[in-house]
Amino acid sequence: MVTVTSEPANPTLDTDTHHMAVALLPGRTVLPAARWGAARPDQVQAADYVVIVGAKPPVFEGRLLLERQEGTVWRRGP
């Protein structure tokens, strides 16, 4: 399960990136970080992988898998 969110947090952007992720991550269960502009932190918490568009978050509980100028990819857990 994967979710796409943003840093700094932007629920409007997260709504669109969720839709794009459904298209571009076939075979994955893509959870919404926001639905129609409303943040869904419960869904973000349920994801195993988190794609963050934008700056690298100062604190994140998980393992950094990829870092690029556009954003970072994290795996939750130890």
Binding site: H19, A23, V30
Partner: protein, 437 residues
């Protein structure tokens, strides 16, 4: 575009499926290119119906058996056709220079759509938000994936949306093993070219050739101006235009009352109804208006020939939705009677500003000017009445919105009103049965 070319080939493979029907001698006047384009359209309707029925049963999709069963069905459709007397020949072929000029304009317009797509300037975000993900998921599941549609975070995919385009894309995706996102927008110039060929064949079969090609040039140019502007690459919009306008072109001609023409129109209307939600309104209104403006063709048989393919495809789709407890009818835009009439002024103002921004209204005004100058025929009530009904339906749909109204209209109005402009474009060639009403 690696493998994408093959994917595109599979989206037009239904031309083989539809060939048994369109190769019947009664369609001989449409010529090879016109028959091929119409075969692709009819074949896609039959293939989509078989795919939906297979999902309903359920039987996993397979390329060979889907194509085989669809082919058998079009052979059965062909067996419905008997010998027919030749329809009326068009009077006056017109100037060859006009035909050549019009064909050059149509070809140039399709080239413009192709180049714009190559430049990445026509790809719709709806391809990525809606049409593509469904096709991809369905191909992976080898069926219409109810669980994928049921997920609450997939509601932006409109689970109730009719299945022809996603079925067709899924069929091609099954063939090459992936959905080529960069290639999918090329369905726009491809179907546009098929539309031009089919429309030219239909109009030139029973109307003066020069007039027919001039009107095709106008219709294709309008489709390209609006299609390029409002980004319809990879969506169902060009499929709706193909099916809806070709059906109206047949039914607004002097040859419309023949059984073969009614059957073909009925199949095309089914394609319209299966391509987009508004296609169902269009199919019902077309059948009703045709029976109104063509009294000599008014019969139960005509009504059945026009409507049974739509009824069958709709029944299969709704049965799927009911049995999977996904939907009972089209509900994507809210409850039928829940309207916000206080937004009417805002909606009309936004539509107006869209049409008059950067001269986007011209593709509507030029066909209207041609229509006003054309010889009048009572049969014109069919395309013009349909334009009015479709416009009223869009307005009615917009009245269901209470949030982001302006954004919704701005994003969609130019695109969804495109068939209205093309209906105006083809209306000047409406001709009644020469035997009279």
């Amino acid at each position: 575009m690696r493998g994408g070319g093959l994917w595109l080939v599979f989206t037009v493979l239904p031309a083989v499926i539809g060939a048994p029907l369109l190769s019947h001698p009664t369609y001989g006047r449409y010529g090879f290119l016109g028959r091929t384009a119409l075969s692709a359209g009819v074949g896609a309707v039959v293939l989509s119906l078989v795919m939906t029925a297979a999902a309903l049963v359920p039987v996993p999709w397979g390329l060979a058996w889907l194509a085989g069963v669809s082919l058998v069905l079009t052979f059965l459709l062909r067996s419905l056709l008997g010998q027919e007397a030749e329809g009326p020949r068009p009077t006056g072929s017109g100037a060859r220079a006009i035909v050549l000029g019009a064909v050059a304009v149509s070809t140039g317009a399709v080239g413009a759509a192709l180049f714009a797509t190559y430049a990445g300037a026509t790809a719709s975000t709806d391809l990525f938000h809606f049409w593509g993900p469904k096709a991809e998921a369905f191909a992976a599941a080898r069926s219409i994936d109810a669980e994928f549609l049921r997920a609450p975070w997939h509601d932006h995919l409109h689970p109730d949306y009719p299945p022809l385009v996603t079925n067709l894309f899924a069929f091609a995706t099954l063939a090459i093993g992936r959905l080529p996102w960069g290639t999918a927008p090329y369905t726009y110039p491809l179907v546009l070219a098929a539309f031009g060929l089919a429309l030219a064949a239909i109009l030139a079969a029973d109307r003066p050739r020069a007039d027919a090609h001039a009107i095709v040039a106008l219709a294709v140019t309008v489709a390209v101006l609006l299609g390029n502007t409002f980004l319809i690459g990879g969506t169902g919009d060009i499929y709706l235009i193909f099916y809806a306008i070709c059906a109206v072109a047949i039914l607004s001609g002097p040859d419309a009352g023949r059984g073969s023409r009614l059957l073909l129109s009925g199949l095309l209307l089914s394609g319209a109804a299966s391509a987009k939600v508004e296609g169902l309104v269009f199919a019902g209104a077309t059948a009703g208006l045709f029976l109104l403006v063509a009294p000599r063709s008014r019969s139960l048989r005509a009504a059945v020939l026009l409507l049974w393919p739509t009824a069958l495809s709709l029944a299969a789709w709704l049965a799927y939705g009911w049995t999977r407890q996904l939907f009972r009818f089209y509900v994507g835009y809210g409850s039928f009677a829940k309207l916000y009439p206080e937004n009417l002024t805002l909606i009309l103002r936004t539509i107006g500003s869209e049409f008059f921004a950067a001269a986007w209204g011209l593709p509507f005004l030029v066909p209207l000017a041609v229509l006003l100058l054309a010889r009048k025929s009572p049969r014109m009530l069919l395309p013009v009445g349909l334009a009015a009904i479709l416009s009223a339906f869009y307005l009615f749909t917009y009245l269901h919105a209470n949030v982001l109204v302006r954004d919704w209209v701005t994003w969609s109005a130019g695109r969804i009103f495109t068939p209205v402009a093309i209906l105006f474009a083809v209306a000047p060639l409406a001709r009644e049965d020469p035997a009279g009403f």
